[in-house]
């Protein structure tokens, strides 16, 4: 049916609910139709539209990496921050509850271009959600890539989710993990301040590096510009954007960013494509 009506959701069931912080919840979803599970394939960086009955639909990145799709169980992890109408209600769902899912949509991270390169993943706040899947993928195919750095900044240290995950990655060979919090507590043993303050600590070989950015726009812009100063070519910087989305298939017009539709031309963009407008008020 989905091929006929691109707006029609598929039914999914919440199989697990993980409370990450008081406002952030990861929902592990299973499409209830076996056929839909077989057909579903997505790349890191893509997103789904999650539909809550009677309430509405919102775009949420797919956190699970492709390894989840290889087996028949296909579980879709979505990490959601409760900010408004739909998300506040979504995070209240419990195992067994049903919702609608359509997707995957958009263009994910440029894994092909990252092949053989050092990859720096720089995220801020919940920007880590769309990036986690790509880290998983890099780790799964570890030998295909050079140095990997994972840089994450949060406002308050309690906002940091997936701490063990970062600690686990930090122990991997040739992998650097840098964390920053604007407001640390006594136990915080990482950097204090903005993510951009960490960029100088990167093991950066500009000519063979590719950076993937996700987070608030000012943070992405500052990071990208800093990376360029550090010698990275703008072409090797990629970032993931967010705009209002109603349809996710390029029809509703809401997600336009200049000439691009974030839903289908993005959400992951090459930096030069958005550099001009990023930060221009009103776009």
């Amino acid at each position: 049916m989905n091929t006929v009506n691109p707006y029609l959701p598929m039914e999914a069931e919440v199989v697990e609910r993980i409370q990450e912080t008081p406002t952030i919840v990861t929902l592990r979803l299973r499409l209830t139709c076996a056929d839909a599970r077989h057909r579903f394939y997505c790349a890191p960086g893509q997103f789904n539209m999650l539909y809550l009955h009677g309430v509405g639909e919102v775009p949420i990145s797919i956190k699970s990496g492709p390894q989840h799709f290889l087996d028949q169980t296909l579980l879709l992890d979505h990490t959601i921050r409760a900010v408004g109408r739909v998300t506040r209600a979504l995070v209240r769902l419990q195992p067994g509850d049903r919702l609608g899912v359509r997707g995957p949509y958009g263009r994910g991270w440029p894994l092909d271009k990252a092949h053989g390169k050092d990859v720096h993943i720089i995220t801020g706040g919940l920007g880590c959600a769309p990036a986690v899947s790509v880290v998983h993928e890099l780790m799964r195919q570890r030998s295909q890539y050079g140095h990997i750095s994972v840089v994450q900044g949060v406002k308050h240290c309690d906002d940091l989710i997936w701490r063990e995950q970062y600690e686990h990655w930090a122990k991997q060979p040739d992998t650097q993990v840098l964390l920053a919090a604007d407001q640390p507590d006594a136990r915080w043993r990482w950097h204090t301040g903005m993510v951009t303050g960490l960029l100088d600590q990167l093991t950066l070989a500009p000519h063979r590096s590719l950076a993937m950015l996700c987070g608030p726009e000012p943070m992405m812009r500052a990071s990208a510009e800093r990376l360029i100063e550090l010698g990275l070519s703008p072409d090797n910087i990629w970032l993931s954007m967010e705009r209002n989305m109603q349809c996710a298939v390029g029809h509703c017009g809401h997600c336009q960013f200049g000439a691009d539709f974030v839903c289908k031309d993005g959400p992951v963009f090459n930096y030069p494509a958005v550099r001009e407008l990023l930060g221009t008020r009103g776009f």
């Binding site: 809550l52 009955h53 009677g54 309430v55 109408r85 739909v86 506040r88 209600a89 209240r92």
Partner: protein, 271 residues
Amino acid sequence: MKAPDLRPSIAVHKFSSCDGCQLAFLNLGEDLLALTQRVRIRHFLEAGLDDPDAEVDIAFVEGSLSTPDEIARIRRVRASARYLVSIGACATAGGLQALRNLDDTHDAWRDAIYASPEFIATLAHARPIADEVRVDFELWGCPINSRQLLAAVSALLAGVPPIDQRDKVCLECKRTQQVCVMVTEGKPCLGPVTRTGCGALCPAFGRDCYGCYGPADNPNTASLARRFAGLGLLPDAIARRFLMINSAAPAFHEAGLIARSQGESQGESDE
């Protein structure tokens, strides 16, 4: 023993008003019965339910605050409601009766009508509910309609706040494929500064919108007032356009007073 009633409870309260907004409940037709399956109505005088101080999940409040007694009463309503929704122009902006706020004419009007004005304890101003207590959501319109009401109730029953509809009447006017009365007939339509929700009724009836849903998001009243002047309206007539059902809503209030003062200064220069 009876099973406990787990339905969310609601109350409908009335303050200074014409009762028209509560009718959005009584005019629901079959949906009224469906609604009573899902919620327990604790207080709604017009429907025969009288328990004003019952603790409720949602209190709907119609009418403006215009007497000292009403001020005391709204505080009680607030205290006993988890979520308070003000319904209609009276409750959200003071309504038509807020016209008495304009020039502090209340006392003069009262004295003109009542033989024993000293017995009449009304306030000089008719004010919106949110002036006195915290309001969780406002449904604009004079009157609100059942469609808006159902949308708000459904959202709340789903555990989410209702959607605040702030677009302009013009959008709905075009969606319903009406012909613009300002462009074809030069009628001074308030659609371009007024909130949608009514379904663009006035243009559908060949007349100019009179702003009963209150100001929309980002209303450019100054430009519209200039346009009205271009259509031949005198400042006083422009002022009356803005100072009608929602005269106390800030955007309309201000636009009306500006037009009025232009009328006065013109009047002076005429002399």
